[in-house]
């Protein structure tokens, strides 16, 4: 049975021309779920609109 993320995974793999064998799907999905969970943790933290990213960070 298809998991909720499977359509998204299929679409992105196609858009980026990334190979995705069926045998890899469970691990890719599990890793993506972790990344999205951590991403949500970051997303839900309110930041001022003026906050600049730190792409090359000088400590």
């Amino acid at each position: 049975m298809a998991e909720p993320l499977d359509d998204y995974i299929d679409a992105v793999s196609k858009a980026l021309a990334l190979p995705l064998e069926e045998a890899w799907r469970p691990a890719v999905r599990a890793n993506l779920e972790v990344s999205l969970r951590f991403g949500r943790l970051v997303d839900e933290f309110a930041l001022p609109d003026e906050t600049e990213p730190a792409p090359v960070f000088t400590a």
Binding site: L16, L20, N31, L32, F38, D43, T51, A54, F57, A59
Partner: protein, 464 residues
């Protein structure tokens, strides 16, 4: 000078410069030890025998000619195999990179150590493309822990931890994106320095996550760590993130008193999900330093999450083309993480980078009231090779994902850290001595004081 296996770099350099030991003898002793023990430890992927012998002979010739030699004269060292070594393909723990043309020039940090008289003896095993906390490698086999060869070295600089912990070489270099210097230091019972982001040049090393990549040294003593660090400092136009600050030598300052430094213990995130050994190690260090004040590092768990997002996406970006062309030549576990990383929405990555700036400002504020922060380097001592889960407080948790929980929130904003080994039985474990940006001097002085007190030390390899 007996040239014992556990001779420090400082001892070797002093003996070589003073004529009591030849550089050739120092290098041959390291090569013999590698030959004797590395069939078990599996820390080296390349031993540069002829190069090392030629360099050692040149040092001895200089001494014979009355020329001045550097502070690391005759000291054997080795580097994680993501450093360019002229004549070798920079494999970065991968199968794919073995097809690259051999590097034409050494990495900057190798050049600087050799300019100080050190002698490169080889390249070291590592987790594939540095996306690893275990020290295991599907292509080259795992590097093994010198205190119990059935256990992990920690990664991804596993060979560096194993080679120094096993006393094959007194100094090694590694990289640290999320903990890859501090984790092997902890598991292998040695000292490791992850300097401030931008302090040491990364030129001609294979990258992983440009936002978070650092390079640094491992050693069996703080004096050696500082000697290597001092020799490698300095700006480098070949690394866009390298500081333009001048060289700030620490070796002359190591013995300066540490009384008056404000030392705090990291609470909250850093005291959760840890085994009793990690708590015991921090407690011993804190007690020796008279530290009782516990501070909360604001949003450290979220910082770890943001570091994870940046790592998986920048890593994926780096490897996109290799994922398309040679997916079956990756370690499958690394490949699947990277493919997933390529699928994370860009908006979340941008949020993570913005959060990073916010978090940095909060921690900078914290360091106005303290000088040193203590935290575990790892939540546990070295797990068994291949171990997938561990149980803590009745809860089963994945090993790999949790090894770096205490290192990630620190490297996320580039703070300097010395990982110091607390020689617990039966296995050592590390503590992070964390300071404000550019204050490696304080971290190294505190580490040196702890070493003098006998609280931290690199134990003799127990598994050899």
């Amino acid at each position: 000078m007996t040239n014992k296996p556990e001779s420090t770099a400082a001892d070797i350099a002093k003996a070589v410069a003073g004529g009591q030991l030849s550089a050739v003898a120092a290098v041959e002793a390291a090569l013999a030890r590698i030959k004797q023990h590395d069939t078990i430890l599996n820390s080296f992927t390349d031993v540069t025998v002829e190069r090392a012998r030629a360099k050692a002979r040149a040092i001895d010739a200089d001494i014979a000619a009355g020329k001045k030699v550097g502070p690391l004269a005759g000291v054997p060292f080795a580097v994680k195999n993501l450093f360019d070594v002229a004549g070798l393909s920079t494999r970065a723990g991968s199968k794919i990179n073995r097809d690259l043309a051999p590097a034409k020039r050494d990495a900057t940090l190798i050049e600087r150590l050799e300019a100080a008289g050190a002698v490169l003896v080889g390249a070291l095993n590592m987790g594939e493309y540095a996306y690893d906390f275990t020290g295991e490698n599907v292509h080259d086999g795992p590097s093994r822990n010198p205190h119990d060869t059935t256990r992990m070295t920690g990664g991804s600089s596993g060979g560096s931890g194993s080679a120094v912990g096993g006393a094959l070489v007194p100094i090694a270099l590694g990289s640290d994106t999320n903990g890859s210097i501090r984790v092997p230091s902890s598991f292998c019972g040695i000292f490791g320095l992850k300097p401030t982001y931008g302090r040491l040049s990364r030129a001609r090393s294979f990258p992983f996550v440009a936002s978070l990549d650092h390079l640094g040294p491992f050693a069996r003593s703080v004096t050696d760590l500082a000697l290597a660090y001092d020799a490698m400092q300095g700006q480098d136009a070949d690394d866009a993130a390298c500081t333009t600050r001048g060289v700030e030598p620490v070796s002359p300052l190591l013995g300066d008193p540490i009384a008056g430094l404000r030392v705090a213990i990291a609470g909250g995130h850093f005291q959760k999900n840890v085994f009793p050994e990690a708590i015991e190690a921090v407690s011993r260090v804190a007690k020796a330093l008279g530290a009782t004040h516990v501070v909360d590092v604001p949003e450290a768990s979220r910082a770890r999450a943001a570091a994870y997002v940046i790592t998986t996406t920048e890593g994926a970006s780096l490897h996109l083309d290799r994922l398309r062309k040679r997916p079956n030549d990756f370690d499958p576990a690394v490949r699947d993480r990277l493919i997933a990383g390529a699928m994370v929405p860009a908006s979340l990555v941008d949020r993570a980078q913005k959060f990073r700036r916010w978090y940095r400002s909060q921690v900078t504020e914290l360091f106005k009231s303290i000088d040193v922060l203590l935290a575990p380097a790892t939540p546990c001592t070295a797990p068994k090779l291949g171990q997938v889960n561990f149980t803590l407080d009745g809860v089963e948790m994945p090993v790999r994902a949790n090894i770096g929980i205490h290192t990630q929130p620190i490297s996320f904003i580039g703070l300097p850290v010395v990982a110091v080994p607390v020689p617990l039985e039966p296995l050592p474990i590390g503590v992070q001595i964390i300071t404000a940006p550019w204050r490696e001097d304080i971290a190294l002085r505190v580490a040196h004081a702890l070493e003098q007190m006998g609280v931290v030390s690199a134990p003799s390899p127990r598994g050899l």
